[in-house]
């Protein structure tokens, strides 16, 4: 990245998901994450529906049914969003910092310098493990920093972790 990118050439053709399109190469997360997220949501929806159903059994009122309908509709809508959101999730390793972008309704982009890294977490829940996925999270001294990359294949996760720690040690500055 050079200084020349201060004033973007054309302010009106900025893609919210593609800042600096020529300078950054975004890597996607695994599409299997869609399945994981959907299953995760399905479990929650099932639990909610079960709760509402029990309520309906005891107290025969249309509101319970309406609630169940709303939950189902919301779940379907969220599922469409999830598919797109996972596709929108991306990360990029630049020379000095890690970029992570995610979110569709609320779009977020984080720029975290390797030099500020305090530690790296690699986690994998049971569902993620079943699909051979892992989550890498970079922590800085600021609690507000938000650099989490889910849905990585294990080898990519460990590669990223090793690279981050190597770069972090290299450029360590701490606070």
């Amino acid at each position: 990245m050079t200084e020349s990118s201060v004033s973007p050439p054309d302010a009106h053709r900025v893609d919210p998901l593609e800042p600096w399109p020529d300078a950054v190469e975004w890597r996607p997360v695994s599409p299997k994450l869609i399945t994981v997220e959907l299953i995760n949501r399905a479990i929650w929806v099932a639990l909610l529906l079960a709760g509402l159903f029990v309520g309906w059994m005891y107290n025969d009122h249309e509101l319970w049914l309406a609630g169940m309908g709303a939950v189902v509709l919301f779940a379907i809508w969220r599922s469409f969003i999830t598919v797109r959101a996972v596709r929108a999730w991306g990360y990029a390793e630049r020379d000095n910092d890690l970029l992570v972008r995610h979110g569709l309704v609320i779009r977020r982009l984080s720029i975290v310098p390797y030099a500020r890294m305090q530690y790296v977490d690699v986690t994998a829940g049971p569902l993620e493990r079943a699909f051979q996925l892992a989550t890498v999270q970079l922590h800085t001294a600021s609690a507000a920093s938000d650099a989490k990359v889910p849905g990585l294949p294990p080898e990519e996760a460990s590669r990223l972790r090793d690279r981050l720690t190597a770069l972090g040690e290299d450029r360590a500055e701490g606070l």
Binding site: M1, S7, A11, R107, L109, I111, S142
Partner: protein
């Protein structure tokens, strides 16, 4: 970093201070473990009485009667004293190399090593009881964890001051001269470091007036009238009722009163190493030492009611102190409790050399952001200067925050659904202090450019910083305490704010 296993520690020794240090220490520089002051358990017990009374509440008092209430409180307080006595027996600290080691814990023994290079600030606190007994509490702030990780309560004032000096000497960036004499504990240390240069003393009257100019103080007469009317109408003058009401009122009033008590006699000074010495407090005196390179952000606030006086207050964030959101008013982050603009300007220039409160141009967000900020739009702004990221916000209470690039931890760009409609985005500059510099609702293209600029400038600042630090320690002594360059024309002092011509970032 938290706990180290030190099997060879003389941990279980009943009288460690009496042992010859060289006999059983593996490292030659290791010194004997030292105890806190023997009065500590009593002070802890006395302190707990207030907590116990509050926990039992006035209601209980009226139910069980004064005698039994006092008995219960006494029994509990004695229990606390006994517990603190045991914990005192198990607590010790000593310095090993460039680490401070603290052992404590009753059931779960903890042996904590604090690397002194990571020290953010050191504070010496003297609550009222400690002042009466000549003791002090030493608090070390390190990053990580929401609370102070290493309070040493209590030491004698002299010990605490000496220990603080040693810790700071060890923590200094310059890898200290061959271990400054493993000082024998009895050596008298100057209570105040020599060569200290006073910078500022805040007038107590100003503090008092400034806290009278707060919403709480304005509502006090209304509150009192309300309570009196209620009592007169209902005619119930029970002790519990009055006591409860007074307690409730105290809750509301507490903040300004506590501010006055805390900010009383507020003094700032610089020591020879360029560190900031902050002293304040009436009932509980506190004295902080903050190395300047630990300052994460500086925030200036112009409260609405202070505007006739043209006053503002300055706050600084240090990594390790609990953030403002943690609710308690304990965050000791004052740089200037109350003062006029010129004082603040000189102070900021001193704390962040080269940053002039007058010359912080910001640009407002594009006009279409008025959908999100119908009134405050002209008061919002963000800008980049040579060294700092500036942002301002707030219609009634105007605020301005300054984040040095060298302190940036990460940069975020966030766009919510409404912002997406309007083609806007918000840029956050995160620091370790808990507060982020925020550029609200910028044009999307500008937001990306801003984020890129912040990342680039932060990197450059970091690179320079690592080289400059050693020099800075030597230079800061005399060069920094000069007034910022006087502006050619003196604009209205009340705010150097959004009316300035926009500058392109």
């Amino acid at each position: 970093m938290t706990s180290t296993d030190a099997p060879a520690q003389p941990e279980e020794q009943p009288e460690p201070a009496a042992e010859p240090p060289a006999a059983l220490s593996p490292v030659p520089t290791e010194e004997p473990r030292r105890r806190l002051h023997p009065m500590s358990p009593l002070l802890h017990g006395a302190k707990s009485i207030a907590v116990i009374v509050a926990a039992l509440s006035w209601q209980t008092l009226s139910q069980v009667g004064v005698g039994r209430f006092a008995l219960v409180v006494l029994v509990l307080a004695v229990g606390v004293v006994i517990l603190s006595l045991i914990s005192w027996l198990n607590t010790g600290y000593h310095i090993v190399g460039r680490e401070l080691r603290i052992q404590d814990g009753l059931l779960w023994r903890r042996n904590r090593a604090i690397p002194l290079e990571r020290l953010q600030s050191v504070e010496l606190r003297r609550p009222l009881l400690a002042q009466l007994t000549g003791l002090a509490e030493l608090r070390l702030e390190v990053v990580g964890g929401g609370k102070t990780e290493a309070p040493l309560a209590y030491l004698t004032v002299r010990d605490a001051a000496a220990l603080r000096e040693r810790l700071l000497a060890l923590a200094g960036r310059t890898p200290a001269q061959p271990a400054p004499a493993p000082a024998d504990p009895a050596a008298p240390a100057p209570a105040a470091p020599t060569g200290e240069r006073p910078m500022l003393q805040v007038n107590n009257q100003d503090v008092l007036v400034s806290q009278l100019l707060t919403p709480q103080a304005f509502f006090l007469p209304i509150g009192v009238a309300f309570v009196v009317v209620q009592f007169v109408l209902q005619g119930s003058w029970g002790f519990v009722g009055i006591a409860s009401t007074v307690t409730a009122m105290a809750g509301v009033l507490m903040q300004p009163v506590r501010r006055v008590l805390q900010d009383w006699n507020f003094r700032l000074a610089r020591d020879t190493d360029g560190r900031l010495l902050v002293r304040f407090g009436l009932v509980e005196t506190r004295s902080q030492v903050v190395p300047l390179h630990r300052v994460q952000t500086v925030t200036a606030t112009w409260p609405l009611l202070w505007r006739p006086k043209q006053w503002l207050h300055l706050r600084l964030d240090i990594a390790g102190y609990p953030g403002p959101q943690s609710g308690t008013d304990k965050g000791s982050d004052r740089l200037l409790p109350v003062g006029d603009f010129w004082t603040a300007r000189a102070l900021v220039w001193d704390v962040l050399p080269g940053v002039d409160l007058m010359a912080l141009p910001t640009t407002p967000p594009p006009a279409r952001a008025r959908w999100l900020h119908p009134f405050a739009l002209r008061r919002i702004g963000a800008g980049l200067t040579d060294q700092v990221f500036v942002s301002r916000w707030g219609l009634l209470t105007r605020q301005l925050s300054v984040v040095p690039y060298a302190r940036l931890q990460s940069v975020r760009v966030v766009q919510g659904p409404i912002q997406r409609r309007l083609g806007l985005a918000t840029v956050y500059a995160d620091t370790a202090g808990g507060r982020s510099g925020t550029a609200h609702d910028r044009d999307l293209a500008e937001a990306w450019a801003l984020a890129e600029q912040l990342a680039t400038r932060a990197r450059r600042a970091r690179e320079e910083h690592s080289g400059r630090d050693v020099v800075a320690a030597a230079v800061t002594d005399d060069t920094t305490w000069q007034r910022p360059p006087a502006p050619a024309d003196q604009p209205s002092a009340d705010q150097p704010s959004a009316d300035q011509p926009p500058a392109q970032p």
